[in-house]
Symmetry: C2
Subunit: 141 residues, 2 copies
């Protein structure tokens, strides 16, 4: 999204929090484990999800597929306790520094990023982690 | 984006790399410093940017504002050497594990995420880093 010059200085160098939601009213939010730096997941927030995250201290996203607030952990029990929220230069992306228990990804891994591109064949992936819980038990699938 | 049930198992648990570009032909890419875990920036790639990143080993993005490939470092000299590429469960987001020199953000900081929400006033930010280079020199502004 283009930023007018008048606002750029304030958005980039200022200390007012001015989250820039996209045309769908969403902002990208990355959950990163605070003590290890591991990126756990990437999702979206709308204004309400952001407000509730700040108010409750637990990560709340907006589910584009279900079109409603997604209170992470509500169903699985795997909450994300938010210690800090960082914002990037143009204020269209957030990092949530979180504390978690174990599995965060609905597939059963701690992080959603459990696969790495194969350097010998970039059409293929390799697993870089092992499942830490059984999603069938957590989600009753 | 909704995924049909037929494909979900393969996308989530398979080892075929099937990057899922959005309606604009873009996929989210997070640059993360490999040795520290620090998140440096979040941007987008189109298919061409991804192919060129894999081929050259240097991060290439797609600039939505300039509507063209953005070979990171071409102008500033701050390249990102890509050591690994990770993909998330639904294959609509990538992590680039990178090696960098110093300043990566065009504002002058190493990371774009140089501000943190103030816990006492969530409308305000505080700086969490100091500038590491002068963007006026790097970009000739």
């Amino acid at each position: 999204m283009a930023i007018s010059n008048n606002n750029t200085e304030n958005i980039e160098n200022g200390l007012d929090f001015q989250p820039r939601f996209n045309a769908d009213g969403l902002i990208t939010a990355i959950s990163q484990e605070a003590d290890t730096g591991e990126i756990l997941m990437v999702a979206f927030m709308n204004q309400q999800a952001l407000d509730e995250t700040i108010k409750t201290g637990n990560a709340v996203f907006y589910s584009r597929s279900r079109k409603k607030l997604w209170r992470k952990g509500e169903q699985s029990g795997h909450f994300q306790k938010v210690l800090d929220i960082l914002v990037d230069c143009d204020q269209d992306c957030l990092i949530l520094k979180v504390e978690v228990d174990q599995g965060q990804c609905h597939v059963g891994y701690k992080s959603c990023f459990y696969r790495t591109l194969d350097k010998n064949d970039p059409k293929k992936l390799r697993f870089n982690a092992e499942k830490v819980y059984d999603p069938k038990e957590a989600y009753g699938k």
